[in-house]
Symmetry: C2
Subunit: 150 residues, 2 copies
DNA sequence: TGACAATTAATGTAGATACATATATTTGCA
DNA sequence: TGCAAATATATGTATCTACATTAATTGTCA
């Protein structure tokens, strides 16, 4: 549906104003698709993001700060996110020997197993993006990168 | 900056996976631009959205439900949002005579004045979207609409 | 008419988030 | 060395958000 219909606004000042709103709206749309996808596994989008980052480093551990840098949403309290994941048994943490300010986090076997399970359902999510063909998806990616600048 | 650099991930499975993440990231990027723009006026993005919807109807009032339908982020509790705005003196509310379940909301003169003030700074926001020329902005809008599909 | 369903708004609550601050450790340099 | 600045993580707090539930009113139809 065109954004005009989604929010019952029949015209915008210009393409830029529309883009701003369209971008907010579509961001929300994607957020919800992902939240729905993760809900059965009791994970939030942020927790999932952390787990995927950790899988990318596995079997190495990685500091809290390095996780933050790699996150899509660079929020401040990865500490508490990791705390939740530890309670659920998906990560381990231990103080770094060389720099005792740092805390290294690693994904557990259970964490890896959970991600594998979630990945199996990935096609259902990708399905929702099939209104664009691969060239259009690439075009959109390029425009988004360009929008955010140099 | 390309999304790969923003989150230090050097490759994606395919354009669709990248698109998902790029869209989340860019949505967040826009959200922050707008939040920063509104912060000096003590408004959240949601409150601003409500006020703009009300200005669009002014001098008519509009029900809480109609506001929800028109919001970019169709969250459940417009009641509480309106409550905040009323406390600040930017809206009035009164029970609808014909249907006493409904509560009609209208923007006040102060609310209008605030929006005008905020609008004056709008060019600074649009500036941040100038990495795309108008045709590219339109192209992006069309792709976003198409992505969300029928 | 009268009972039940549907609509509209408000509220209760747990959890998430933003923002500021605290704590511990390391670094750099006089 | 010793002390201030910088870095890394954790915590306190108010606010926001999602989700479920409640309460009031209106619509529907046997």
């Amino acid at each position: 549906m065109k954004i005009e219909e989604e929010i019952k606004q029949n015209k915008f000042e210009d393409e830029y104003q529309k883009l701003m709103i369209n971008q907010l709206f579509t961001g929300k749309w994607v957020t919800e698709i992902i939240a729905d996808h993760l809900k059965p596994y009791g994970l939030t989008s942020q927790q999932y993001n952390v787990l995927r980052i950790l899988r990318g480093q596995h079997p190495q551990a990685i500091s809290v700060n390095s996780i933050t840098i790699r996150m899509i949403d660079k929020m401040s309290n990865v500490s508490r996110l990791v705390d939740k994941l530890k309670t659920k048994g998906f990560v381990n943490r231990r103080v770094n020997h060389d720099d005792r300010r740092q805390v290294d986090i690693e994904i557990t076997e259970e964490g890896l197993k959970l991600l594998n399970q979630i990945d199996k359902k990935q096609p259902e999510v990708k399905q929702k993006f099939q209104n664009l063909n691969p060239e259009e998806a690439k075009q959109l990616n390029d425009l988004l990168d360009k929008l955010r600048g140099q």
